[in-house]
Symmetry: C2
């Protein structure tokens, strides 16, 4: 299958491109390197050194004998998107190509507007390119479990059967996203559902939980194939961040009481879930949602687990929660559709955490300590980010 991976230079996009390439698909990668640009802005780069996309692709060809085609450009540039569609002629698209950090979107007005415009317009351009050039293409879109928020009822996979005043319907699941970033994903979901119904497009929206881990079978084959690992408070996700903090001897930074419960998955399950979605496309006109995670943990549970496993232990700091979110709430989210299609999950193991301790240990000298503690407060409309504590604004 010809698969175009949008955002294929990022934390998950790159391992996905390698995984699909190794399984014999013809893979193209689209990226504008926005994620590498954020590093300059925040003064915090990947803990694990990463090669340029061009070098990654060269090394992969040397290691595997397989070709990955790069397309360098911006999804908000419609002419670029249409050109790539015409040149590569994808049968499926895996769309990681969005600004993906909630704190980044909450830095200030400019970052909020950037996040929503970048994500929504990029996805609109992809939908129009599909409608105009090849409506049969299957769009596998990365959404987020954070779109749902924390309702007091069970979370279903995308849709909810409602009985009301004696009548019944199946409706899009009501969303209560908790950041400008999560809002952008909800906007995308509505736009994609409409495009599927209106033009007969087909899409799988993967509402993904929080991913941990850094190594896949493919990235392990050469250090220059490594994917990024973020430790900073803006892009570092919760379990990865705790592991890095433990190794550094930095207290584990729990926001609030740590009762926030979230669905999580191993990076090796992310790439497999994408493959499962690709292998089982929806019908024309169908918009389908899979909740993509395998276990639920509270933030406090994760911190305690890491603190217990790190030799000598780690201190846990309960910081005032910089986010406006419930830190004690009901949480029970369905996640059976990917299992039903064959996902065999990697459950969180001590071995995985210990192997991450080793990865971090090798690179811990690269850390900018100032980037670890959260500086983006949801209640403020101006937040200071960047390595010397100065506000940095996007033009």
């Amino acid at each position: 299958m010809k698969v175009l991976v949008l955002g294929g230079d990022g934390y998950l996009g790159w391992p996905t491109a390698l995984y699909l390439s190794r399984r014999g698909h013809e893979v193209g990668v689209v990226d504008n390197f926005a994620r590498r640009q954020y590093d300059f802005e925040l003064g915090a780069e990947s803990l694990v050194p990463i090669a340029s996309l061009q070098e990654r692709i060269r090394v992969w060809q040397a290691v595997s004998g397989r070709v990955i085609t790069p397309f360098i450009g911006d999804l908000t540039d419609a002419e670029f998107v249409y050109r790539v569609f015409r040149e590569f002629e994808p049968e499926a698209i895996v769309h990681f190509g969005e600004q993906r950090s909630a704190p980044y979107s909450m830095i200030d007005r400019r970052h909020a507007v950037y996040t929503q415009v970048n994500n929504v317009v990029g996805t609109l351009n992809v939908l129009y390119a599909m409608a105009e050039i090849n409506p049969a293409v299957h769009l596998v879109k990365l959404g987020s479990m954070g779109e749902y928020g924390t309702p007091n009822i069970d979370i279903e996979e995308g849709f909810l059967e409602v009985t009301h005043n004696g009548r019944r319907d199946v409706l899009p699941y009501p969303k209560q996203p908790g950041s400008m970033y999560h809002l952008s994903k909800v906007h995308d979901s509505h736009n994609i559902l409409f495009a599927c119904r209106n033009w007969g497009l087909r899409s799988t929206d993967l509402n993904q939980g929080i991913v941990y881990g850094q190594v896949t079978e493919e990235t392990a084959q050469d250090p220059r194939l490594a994917t990024r690992l973020d430790y900073d408070a803006v892009f570092g996700t919760v379990l990865n961040r705790f592991i890095i903090q433990a190794v550094l001897g930095h207290p584990l930074t729990v926001y609030g009481q740590g009762g926030q419960t979230r669905g999580m998955l191993d990076i090796r399950d992310t790439v497999r879930c994408i493959e499962i979605a690709l292998e089982n496309p929806p019908a024309p006109g169908e918009y389908r949602v899979f909740n993509q995670f395998v276990e639920e943990f509270s933030v406090k549970q994760l911190a305690e687990l890491v603190a217990r496993l790190w030799p000598g232990g780690a201190r846990i700091d309960y910081l005032p929660n910089p986010r406006t979110e419930a830190d004690s709430h009901y949480y029970n989210a369905r996640h059976t559709k990917l299992m039903d299609l064959g996902l065999k999950p990697h459950l969180l193991s001590e071995t995985l955490i210990e192997s991450l301790f080793e990865v971090v240990e090798r690179h811990k000298d690269r850390v900018n300590w100032e980037a670890i503690r959260p500086t983006v407060d949801w209640r403020r409309t101006h937040n200071a980010v960047g390595q010397v504590g100065m506000p940095v604004s996007r033009g």
Copy 2:
């Protein structure tokens, strides 16, 4: 009260500004004249001639002795928005300042992207200006009944009480908007709800039905105070359009079988609903939704009513529906909150329709006949609009 009317030069914004000014409020009007610009693009101007904003304001001062302050600029320009907030110091904002036509948003990709970016970014800038400058401001935002789509259950006012697997919650009402425009309103609704919860802002979202009529007590005081009346297939709304078609001797253009049922209201109720919302502000942090319409009609009912009332009758043409929408569906939408707060609705009357016949009769020579029949097909991604049938694109 100091009230800023965003989009105050438009079909409803201008009568609202006059109405509030007459009731003793200090009114500012913000507009970038985008709506007048669309006229050039589409080759179809208001059937009733309209004066410039500056002349309207001069005449209003002469007629009423009251001052309206104009601010000319674009809501997507944050510096402009912040400057207006600091200069005018509004206590309340009435936000009509969005691209408001579903067909316009469905012309092609550029118009879809323009509509979503213009509407979403403009509203984000307003929300940030409120959060940063004065969170006590009450935002009265114009949403649309079209946000809900046509679910098979009763439509509630913004929120739905759901019982699911034995648990209960009140959640945002699930939305199924049917155009890129209606999607932009849904995006706004999610953004505003978040802003209220996150920063303690207060907002009333008025999910308005289809407005008919053209005359209010205030606009009737001088021909130069008239508001616009659109007859074209892109901006003309259904009842107004049928009335104009009848007077012109053009068949009434019903899309599909005309079973589409929609909530409707008189323009004189629009301005009163705004006043009611302003007089009864929500609590800080509260996001409140009122469904703003007073009666439900099917499109076929409206066509038959107009055909019956026009002397000599009118032909009804049932055209292939250019939109992707159900033209036979369940529809029962709650609309009690504004009534409970004191709205005394103008129900649709023969007198009102006959008075509109007269308005149209006076100006019927201004019509561009080519703009009447629908040319925007929801299923196509390129549609021809403009007076000589040529596609016109927005740069």
